[in-house]
C-alpha cells in the first residue's frame, strides 16, 4: 500500500515540478494523470503495482469532492445577489454542452464507422 501511494504521489509531485518550472496553466493533477498513463503505456510502471490504490481512489472519487462543494458556503452572499442568472446559466449551459458534445460525437462516430463496413460489402 505504501509503494502504491508513493507511485501516485510521485506522478503528482512530478506534475507540480513541471508546473513550477514551465509556468504552464494546467493543473498538476492532470499532468500527473498523463504521466501515469505514459508510465503504464511505456511499461515503466506495472499495473499491479498501483491497481489496489487506484481502485480505492477511483471508487470513492465522488466523495472527495465534498469539501470543495461545501466551500460554496463562502460565496452564498455573492451568489444570492444574482442567483437567477447564475442558476439559469449553470443549468442551461451544462445541458447544452452535454447535448451538443454527445450528439457531435455520436454522429461523427457513426459516419466514420459506417464507411469501412460499406467498403467490405
Amino acid at each position: 500500500m505504501i509503494r502504491q501511494m508513493f507511485l501516485i504521489l510521485v506522478c503528482l509531485a512530478l506534475g507540480e515540478i513541471v508546473v513550477y518550472f514551465t509556468g504552464i496553466k494546467i493543473p498538476s493533477s492532470i499532468i500527473g494523470m498523463l504521466l501515469l498513463t505514459a508510465g503504464l503505456h511505456f511499461k515503466i510502471i506495472k499495473l499491479k503495482w498501483i491497481q489496489g490504490i487506484a481502485d480505492f481512489l477511483l471508487d470513492n472519487m465522488v466523495f472527495f469532492f465534498i469539501p470543495p462543494g461545501i466551500a460554496v458556503m463562502c460565496y452564498l452572499d455573492l451568489i444570492s445577489k444574482e442567483w437567477m442568472p447564475i442558476l439559469a446559466s449553470v443549468i442551461g449551459s451544462t445541458v447544452l454542452v452535454l447535448i451538443s458534445t454527445s450528439f457531435t460525437h455520436q454522429v461523427l462516430r457513426k459516419t466514420r464507422s459506417k464507411k469501412p463496413n460499406t467498403d467490405k460489402k
Binding site: L40, N60, F64, P68, P85, L98, T101, T104
Partner: protein
C-alpha cells in the same frame, strides 16, 4: 472552541451523512437522495446553524480533500486501459470537444447576460465547465472574480453529476462513449467521478472530456469573449 467544531467530529458527521444517504439511495433508488448533493446541503446547514466558518470546517475537510488530486492522477489507469480505443476515435473526440468548449463558453455567457447579470458575473461564468484550478487561471486572465468562478464550477459539477446521465437519457443519447465523454466535458471532475461510479471504462472517456475541454476552453475563452465584446 465548541465541541462540534473538532475535526474528528466534523469528519464523522460528513462521512456519516454521505454513507447513510448512499445506503438509503441504494435501498430506495430515489433520485432525490443524491449523496453528494444531500451531504453538501446538510453540512452547510449544520455549519451555518452552529455558527462554524468554512475555515474551521476545512481543518476537517482537508483530510478528505487530500485524496482529490491523487484520485485524478489515478484516472491514468483507466485512461491507459482504454488508450487503443481512444486512439481510434481521435477525430470524433477532438471535434466534439471543440464544439462542447465553444457551446459552453457562449451559452454560459449569453444566458447570464440576457437575464441581466452584472459584467463581473458574466465574465466569471465563462470558464465554469472546466476543472477548478484551470477555471481559476482562466478567470484571472480574463479579469473575472476567481472565487466566484470557483463556486460556479462546483455548482456546474454538482448539477452535472446529479442530472447529467438523466438528461442524456432524456435526449436519447445511446452510445456509452458519447455519454461519458460529454459528462467530462460538461461537468469536469464531478461528472467524471459520476461516470467512474458506473464503470472504469466510462471514467476513462469522461477524463478525456475533462482534459480536452479544459485545454480548449483555456484557448477559446479570451477569443470568444473578445468577439462578444465583453473584454
Amino acid at each position: 472552541m465548541k465541541l462540534i467544531s473538532e475535526p474528528y467530529i466534523l469528519l464523522t458527521l460528513t462521512i456519516g451523512i454521505y454513507w447513510s444517504t448512499k445506503y438509503l439511495q441504494n435501498k430506495t433508488n430515489s433520485v432525490f437522495l443524491n449523496p453528494i448533493l444531500i451531504t453538501i446541503i446538510a453540512v452547510i446547514a449544520i455549519l451555518k446553524a452552529a455558527g462554524i466558518s468554512y475555515d474551521t470546517y476545512h481543518e476537517a475537510g482537508k483530510y478528505i480533500e487530500f485524496f482529490l488530486k491523487p484520485s485524478i492522477v489515478a484516472l491514468g489507469v483507466p485512461l491507459y486501459l482504454q488508450l487503443s480505443k481512444i486512439k481510434k476515435q481521435v477525430v470524433p473526440i477532438v471535434i466534439s470537444q471543440l464544439v462542447g468548449a465553444i457551446v459552453g463558453i457562449i451559452s454560459g455567457v449569453l444566458i447570464a447576460k440576457w437575464l441581466g447579470a452584472s459584467d463581473a458575473v458574466i465574465i466569471s461564468i465563462a470558464p465554469k465547465s472546466v476543472t477548478t484550478p484551470l477555471a481559476i487561471d482562466i478567470s484571472t486572465s480574463i479579469g473575472g472574480i476567481p472565487s466566484l468562478t470557483a463556486s460556479m464550477v462546483v455548482m456546474v459539477g454538482i448539477f452535472g453529476s446529479v442530472a447529467g446521465f438523466k438528461i442524456l437519457h432524456l435526449f436519447k443519447v445511446k452510445n456509452p462513449m458519447s455519454k461519458s465523454l460529454s459528462m467530462g466535458t460538461a461537468s469536469h471532475g464531478l461528472g467524471t467521478a459520476q461516470a467512474m461510479a458506473i464503470s472504469q471504462r466510462f471514467g476513462a472517456y469522461s477524463s478525456m472530456g475533462l482534459i480536452l475541454n479544459g485545454l480548449f476552453t483555456a484557448l477559446c475563452t479570451p477569443i470568444i469573449l473578445a468577439m462578444l465584446g465583453l473584454i
